[in-house]
């Protein structure tokens, strides 16, 4: 209003001023805000990085404490103190005195026994001693490290415990405990932080801790300086600590105001700059404006004159082509056309209206949405083609219809867009639609416009997407062939079942099942046949197991049954019997019959209360044993057996290394003719110089090799070493036989003679009759006739053959009868008791008689005393080995002994 009273020049000046003002202020504010926002993001980012590195410092301090504790728990004197009830105080005080601080944290050390009672070092805080004793006892039993937090008279304390394993039993029998104050921990971290410059913006450090099980909750705060006002940026992270009930987190905060002060100054300078521009533009706008308006002013004077004189025939003067000249031309035109325009106006109005109507018709008829326009009496006035198609009736028919004839849920017909509804279509079929209703005025009366779109396709597509999603969900957790849960789902379920069994004191069986004879199916009728069997097995299993159980397929022909909610182990095993029974039924594939059975390894929780993965492994090991025991059965996992098997494997592994690294050595025990006192030969005996276990005798490792190809490797190793030794004796002019033990499996191998001859060719000057091969009787000979042929061959080339340990092994007599050996060796176990035990004496007398009858040389082993020797001589046994003569010796010692 005020503006309209001003002339254009003043307005122009004001406009220019305002414009300048708006632009300068706007630019300043926007720039300021953008910078502020950017800096805030940067501050938050910085703070996040700071809190991460702050928490890392914490974490590494805790790790330092934990590893210090673990090291200390391994100190031999600590375990010693645990079992040295009377007298340990003479050294524990000194031992613990050395540990006052770890990584800058003050530590209190306590040693507790298996009951969790302190037996050396600091007593537990009295307010919680009973509770702590109890939970420490449980932790020791579980053999696990744990961190707790408590609130004691000393303040907020953390308790870190490490179990101590008593080596003589291999079981945890106590624990070592570190206690330290939360505040101490916090201060060490703060000292570290003070030395690092990246906490520049940080105003306060926070340390929160909570142990719900022991009622500890607290926080520690350290602020750098006292700044007024609340800090308004704060961030914290949880410390990832394992084996604890303790929740630990650390936080940092910073003051935004301190951060943004610099930017406020920037804003001020921008505003001053804006005001200066504003004044400057005001001053320059005035002369500029008068110059621009000079010709306008003269036009205004001329027009005033025209009105005064009421003479409109005059026209304005045109100068140049600028806006003012154009204005003058326009005024002239206006004057020219003014009258004509009045006449034309009514006509133009009519044309406009009819164009709008045409557009409206086109929109309605072309729309793919059905459109219906109802008058206030619910009579249809307008219906389009899409509606005809949707409803399935002609327009004429539709026009006779009422809203309830068209819409299935007329009560849902409300003002608004995209409401879901159903339309009664052709043959009263219900069609899903989106329904919009608007009220429009037509001829000043309210009409109702319905716009209906068919959404059947959208719904179908949605449904398809959902089905696909659930399909993918299913194949991620199940085996596509059988539809059974896969390993991933089994693992999830196993964790849940163990947790449930633990909670309810329940039982749980993990049964690892592998099909016997499945490979034959695949080999014979291909993988499709195999798949058929797998599906059939799945079906049979599903009929047997209860809803609480789970059958999973791990791949191939491996299944796992997870049985729960059984009352006794017997009940569980009965289920497995049924499983074995049902799987035994033959499978008919492509007119062939296949017998497939199962081998199952079972481990029972809580007897076996390990981690889920370990339970599976145990079940797998037991399954392996079930296979070995002849398949088609289950085998219960047994820790000791498992251990025994591992032990055997370990010896086999180590033995391989022993062969490669010359850990095996030969010792020689002399054989003496007791009649003449002459040394007639020696027996090569194997010893294992084990790097960890010291010198091992054959009894310590041979049983583990039995049935393994290593026995053969060992025999050849011994033969090769013995031949070398024998050759050396021959070159030193020593007239001695050398006996070498050889196992039944080696002599039964087809290439035996060939390999032996190859070994012998290395020593062309060695008389072959110096070598005696002693067949060990402890192993069964499968084909006696074949071995007899080998023995005959050996004797033909001059090698002597002996039957070792005669009388102890399998069918001694049939060996004796069928194997044409030179020599019999009576086992030491018979010789030992001949002085006291008349039945042993009879046996030895019998063996000697037997040998004499068949002309075999007889050697007695294990002759310990002169009395034994005398008796044997009297019985007719000349040659003897044993302690009374000499024990076995290394080759050097042996030669000296000679």
């Amino acid at each position: 209003m005020i503006l309209s009273n001003l002339n254009i020049l003043h307005r122009f000046v004001i406009f220019v001023g305002l414009l300048t003002l708006i632009i300068t202020v706007g630019v300043s504010i926007l720039g300021y805000r953008a910078t502020l926002e950017q800096m805030e993001t940067q501050l938050e980012l910085q703070l996040k990085q700071d809190v991460e590195s702050f928490s890392l410092n914490f974490k590494s301090l805790l790790v330092n404490l934990e590893s210090s504790l673990a090291d200390f728990a391994l100190n031999g004197l600590v375990a010693n103190a645990l079992v040295d009830d009377i007298g340990r105080e003479t050294y524990t005080d000194e031992l613990f005195a050395g540990l006052k601080r770890v990584s800058g944290v003050n530590i209190q050390v306590s040693l507790v026994n298996y009951r969790g009672e302190v037996i050396a070092g600091k007593a537990l805080p009295s307010n919680l001693a009973d509770r702590l004793t109890h939970i420490i006892k449980i932790a020791i039993k579980k053999n696990s490290y744990t961190l707790w937090g408590i609130s004691s008279a000393n303040g907020n304390e953390f308790i870190l415990q490490a179990p101590i394993v008593f080596a003589n039993t291999g079981l945890p029998e106590g624990a070592l405990i570190y206690r330290f104050l939360a505040e101490d921990l916090f201060n060490v971290i703060l000292d570290q932080a003070a030395g690092e410059n990246y906490f520049g913006f940080v105003r306060s450090f926070f340390f929160y801790f909570e142990d719900k099980s022991l009622g500890l909750k607290g926080q520690l705060i350290k602020s750098k300086d006292e700044v007024a006002g609340e800090p308004d940026i704060e961030t914290s992270v949880i410390l990832p600590v394992t084996n604890t009930h303790l929740n630990l987190s650390v936080g940092l905060n910073a003051d935004r105001a301190q951060f943004s002060n610099g930017y406020k100054k920037l804003l001020q300078s921008k505003i001053i700059f804006g005001i200066s521009i504003f004044i400057l533009s005001l001053l320059s706008a005035f002369p500029l404006g008068s110059l621009l308006l000079r010709r306008l002013t003269s036009m205004q004077l001329q027009a005033s004159k025209m009105i005064e004189s009421k003479q409109f025939s005059e026209r304005f003067e045109i100068q140049g082509k600028d806006e003012i000249s154009l204005l003058a031309v326009a005024f002239n035109n206006v004057l020219n056309r003014l009258e004509y325009a009045f006449n034309e106006m009514g006509l133009a109005n009519k044309r406009l209206l009819s164009e709008q109507a045409a557009k409206y018709q086109a929109v309605i008829s072309q729309s793919t949405n059905a459109m219906l326009l109802w008058d206030p009496n619910n009579e249809l006035v307008e219906v389009n083609k899409a509606a005809e198609k949707l409803i399935g009736k002609s327009i004429t028919e539709i026009k006779r219809m009422k809203p309830s004839d068209i819409i299935a849920n007329p009560t849902h017909v409300i003002e608004g867009i995209n409401n879901k509804n159903l339309v009664k279509g052709h043959l009263n079929q219900l069609i899903d639609v989106e329904f919009s209703k608007t009220t429009i005025l037509s001829g000043d009366k309210p009409h109702s416009l319905w716009i209906i779109s068919d959404i059947r396709e959208q719904i179908a597509a949605q449904k398809l997407r959902e089905e696909q999603h659930s399909y993918f969900e299913r194949i991620a957790h199940s085996d596509p062939l059988t539809g059974l849960p896969n390993r991933r789902m089994l693992n999830d379920q196993l964790i849940k079942s163990i947790a449930k069994a633990e909670r309810d004191n329940g039982r749980l069986a993990v049964c690892y099942m592998d099909l016997d004879g499945f490979k034959e199916v695949n080999d014979s009728v291909g993988h499709e046949g195999g798949d058929h069997v797998l599906i059939e097995v799945t079906k049979r299993l599903s009929e047997i197991v209860r809803p609480s159980d789970m059958v999973a397929r791990l791949g191939g022909d491996e299944f796992v049954l997870l049985l729960t909610e059984f009352q006794s182990d017997t009940q569980c095993l009965a289920i497995l019997e049924r499983v074995l029974d049902s799987l035994r039924d033959p499978h008919h594939i492509q007119d062939k019959i296949f017998n497939v059975s199962a081998s199952i390894g079972v481990t029972l929780y809580p007897n076996d209360d390990d981690e889920p993965e370990t339970l599976l492994r145990h079940a797998d090991q037991a399954m392996y044993l079930a296979k070995q025991e002849g398949r088609n059965q289950y085998h219960l996992f047994n820790k000791e057996k498992d251990f025994e098997e591992q032990n055997r494997q370990q010896v086999l592994e180590e033995f391989k290394v022993a062969l490669e690294h010359n850990q095996l050595i030969l010792e020689y025990q002399p054989k003496v003719d007791m009649g003449t006192g002459d040394v007639v030969g020696a027996e090569a005996l194997i010893r294992w110089r084990h790097p960890d276990r010291g010198l091992l005798m054959p009894g310590d490792f041979l049983p583990y090799l039995e049935g393994n190809s290593q026995t053969e490797s060992l025999d050849w190793y011994v033969i090769s070493k013995a031949l070398k030794q024998l050759n050396q004796w021959v070159s030193n002019d020593l007239k001695l036989d050398l006996s070498v033990n050889i196992s039944a499996s080696t002599i039964q191998s087809l290439s035996f003679i060939e390999t032996l001859l190859a070994e012998l060719t290395k020593y062309p000057h060695l008389p072959k009759n110096r070598l005696v091969l002693e067949i060990i009787e402890s192993e069964a000979i499968v084909d006696l006739r074949q071995v007899a042929a080998v023995v005959r061959h050996l004797r033909k080339i001059g090698i002597q053959v002996s039957l070792d340990d005669f009388g102890t092994g399998y069918s001694s007599l049939s060996y004796f009868r069928q194997l044409p050996v030179n020599e019999l060796k009576i086992d030491a176990s018979f010789i030992r008791d001949i002085l006291q035990d008349s039945s042993d004496l009879d046996l030895v007398r019998g063996i000697i008689g037997l040998a004499q009858t068949f002309g075999k040389r007889i050697v007695a082993e294990g002759v310990e005393t002169i009395e034994h020797g005398t008796l044997l001589l009297r019985l007719g046994c000349q040659i003897a080995q044993g302690y009374v003569i000499a024990r076995s010796m290394g080759s050097g010692e042996f030669e000296t002994w000679l």
């Binding site: 079992v83 003589n168 039993t169 005798m697």
Partner: protein, 395 residues
């Protein structure tokens, strides 16, 4: 032979009838280190106890027909577990006494508690002097076993007898080790030979990796023999190490008897035959009265199927335990009750008794709770079969 088994069957039936007579059993407790790896001593003590109990029950039991019954507990050689076990045993009605096991530190830790609760403790193996030499009056501990006071002089004199003039002591860091150190110091007050070159305490309970290093230190000290106080686990580690050395670096090991309490021979894997190893003993079935041995072996065959005396591992535990039951039975009958204090008093006033280990004249008195003396102690060695055989004194 046939007659013997017939009598056994008759006796067995008879004892079954007595049992059925609703006579309440009289209990003897045993807390042993069963759970310890390779241990045989707890099993051997249990056999000794059980055989004596069988024998007494066949002859009508105690207190006019009440059978004796054995209750056992496992302490895994851990003192804290032993205390819990003995507390639990003491609560059994008519339990007269608890028999103690191989580990001296375990028994030593029981002493305050058993005197507080007035429980009789019969030591069948532990040798620490403090087991009977303590200040509790009246004392509730009785021992039918070796005492370090006698063991240490015997071990040291054995070195001298072998002309080994310089010895080193290798002792466990425990009450047992300390008891032996004290005994050795007493010995050296009156004796000059053998000379001590080095005293080493080794740690036990943890993984013992130090024995090889200790042995090397001992060799460096110039010792000609080791006086070794240890159990079977440490024993076999040392023996195997020594046997793996060249022969000129092996020196004799003169050992206290803890080694005989476990599968020492088996764990030593033949190494024993490679070195000069002798061990102290108090009892050998090979020296015991023949008629007693025959009686015991008949019962052993019946209950455990063992016919050869050599198959009894850890023989000292067997012998001591066997005699302990007989001495307890005498005391119970003399007391006429299972009341522990009355039985304790009776133990101090027993008549003479011919046992398996020795002739007790009598076993205990108010001033001495040690049934064995220096005369019972001898040195032995392992033969090729792993049987402990006494070393006969040189003529």
């Amino acid at each position: 032979m046939k007659l013997n088994s017939f009598i056994t069957v008759i006796l067995f039936l008879f004892s079954a009838v007595v049992c059925a007579d609703a006579s309440k059993p009289v209990y003897i407790g045993f807390d042993g280190e069963y759970g310890l790896k390779n241990s045989t001593s707890a099993q051997s003590i249990e056999k000794g106890l059980q055989i004596a109990i069988d024998e007494i029950n066949e002859k009508g039991g105690v207190l006019n027909g009440r059978p004796l019954k054995l209750v056992t507990r496992d302490n895994r050689s851990v003192p804290a577990r032993a205390i819990d076990n003995v507390k639990e045993l003491a609560e059994i009605e008519d339990l007269v006494a608890v028999v103690g096991e191989r580990f001296s530190p375990v028994i030593l830790s029981l002493i305050p508690m058993i005197h507080e609760q007035k429980i009789i403790l019969m030591d069948a193996w532990g040798s620490a002097d403090g087991i009977t030499d303590h200040s509790y009056k009246p004392s509730f501990t009785f021992r039918v076993s070796l005492k370090d006071q006698h063991a240490m002089p015997t071990l040291l004199k054995h070195a001298t007898a072998k002309n080994l003039e310089k010895v080193a002591l290798l002792l466990p860091h425990s009450g047992w080790g300390r008891s032996n150190e004290a005994a050795a110091k007493r010995f050296w007050k009156d004796n000059k030979s053998p000379q001590l070159t080095k005293l080493i305490w080794y740690k036990w309970g943890g993984k013992n990796q130090d024995l090889a290093r200790h042995y090397e230190d001992i060799l460096t000290s110039g010792a000609q023999a080791i006086i070794f106080v240890a159990n079977d686990i440490e024993g076999s580690l040392l023996v195997k190490y020594v046997a793996s050395l060249p022969i000129e670096r092996r020196i004799p090991i003169i050992s206290h008897w803890g080694v005989t309490g476990g599968a020492f021979v088996e764990s030593s894997a033949g190494a024993l035959a490679q070195i000069d190893f002798s061990v102290i003993q108090t009892f050998s079935l090979l020296n015991a009265p023949a008629n007693k041995v025959a009686e015991v072996m008949a019962l052993m065959k019946f209950r455990y199927g063992i016919t050869n005396p050599n198959e009894i591992n850890s023989p000292v535990g067997f012998g001591h335990a066997y005699d302990i039951v007989h001495l307890l039975a005498l005391a119970i009958n003399q007391a006429g009750t299972t009341d522990r204090e009355t039985v304790r008093n009776a133990l101090e006033n027993l008549p003479d008794h011919q046992g398996l280990v020795r002739n007790y004249q009598p076993a205990f008195s108010a001033t001495s709770h040690d049934a064995l003396t220096l005369d019972d102690v001898f040195m032995a060695t392992y033969d090729e079969q792993g049987v402990i055989r006494p070393i006969l004194p040189r003529p």
